[in-house]
């Protein structure tokens, strides 16, 4: 299905491209929203990512390549925009970040986690979003953000320590994949 959409979109089929947008809009918008923390800015950036995708369809080789391409372009565009324009004016937290009502965990804890994530610098925030939202391995994050794998692990370690400290969680312990 995804492969068929991609083939047709590459051939210039407008409906197929619309289908690709609908399939992947959640991924792109979520990454942009977690990075920028502002609904309008996130939608604007997500639209730009899909416009760039339309121009780059010839270079997309497969559905899995498309997903990685979207994660990579969205994260890098978000970092660029944050570096260029600084942090966006914070909207009321639950309006901008959303999801508290549908959360399965502790809504207050998760809200505070999201607020603390916004304290990280753009690159460290992108590493955390790609790791814990998109579930990418450190090696894939390194590829997406054009960093060394050690830099990715270092970002993860420092960001987790900072979050634990600020949230009053125990400091010991570290996920196996970033240890060492």
């Amino acid at each position: 299905m995804a492969d068929e959409l991609l083939v047709k979109a590459r051939a210039g089929d407008r409906a197929a491209f619309a289908g690709l947008v609908r399939v992947h809009q959640r991924l792109v918008y979520s990454v942009a929203l977690r990075m920028l923390a502002q609904r309008e800015a996130a939608e604007d950036l997500a639209q730009e990512v899909f416009l760039q995708l339309h121009r780059s369809l010839e270079t997309i080789e497969s559905p899995s390549h498309l997903i990685f391409w979207l994660q990579k372009v969205t994260a890098n565009r978000s970092i660029d925009r944050l570096r260029r324009e600084g942090s966006f004016e914070a909207a009321p937290l639950e309006e901008a970040i959303g999801l508290a009502a549908t959360s399965e965990g502790d809504p207050l804890f998760e809200r505070e986690l999201r607020r603390q994530l916004l304290e990280l610098n753009p690159a460290a925030r992108a590493v955390m979003v790609l790791r814990y939202q998109e579930d990418l391995d450190p090696s894939d994050i390194a590829l997406a953000l054009d960093m060394s794998i050690n830099t990715v692990k270092s970002h993860l370690k420092r960001s987790l320590a900072m979050l634990r400290q600020n949230l009053g969680a125990p400091l010991d312990g570290c996920p196996e994949e970033i240890a060492g």
Partner: protein, 119 residues
């Protein structure tokens, strides 16, 4: 404890849907990008370019004609000056020759003097 914290992170970063109509807005923006620039960016510059080339051609042709006329005028003036100078020199030469002929004629036709007769 670490796993619990990471589970909390994943929960906090659960993906969210964009506002409804997102895909339609992407397509509208795509249409605007592909339609709007066509008319002004393709045709107007070409018309202006043609007008500019047309005026340039006329200006170039007029310049060439003026240059040819000016060069001919200069050549005519120079030829006329050279002709007048040659005429003046010829008249001067004829005048000198005439004076010398007069002197020779007088010398030939002068009557012999008394000094000459006594010799």
């Amino acid at each position: 404890m670490t796993e619990e914290f990471e589970r909390g992170l994943r929960g906090a970063l659960r993906p969210v849907d964009p506002p409804s109509g997102f895909a339609d807005r992407v397509l509208e923006r795509l249409d605007r990008q592909s339609v709007v620039p066509v008319e002004p960016r393709v045709w107007r510059p070409r018309v202006r370019a043609l007008q500019r080339h047309w005026y340039s051609g006329v200006a170039l042709a007029a310049s060439v004609v003026l240059a040819v006329v000016a060069v001919n005028q200069l050549q005519d003036e120079r030829s006329e000056r050279e002709g007048l100078e040659a005429r003046r020199q010829l008249i001067e030469a004829l005048r000198v020759t005439s004076e010398k002929l007069d002197l020779a004629y007088e010398a030939v036709n002068r009557p012999p003097s008394t000094d000459d007769a006594g010799v």
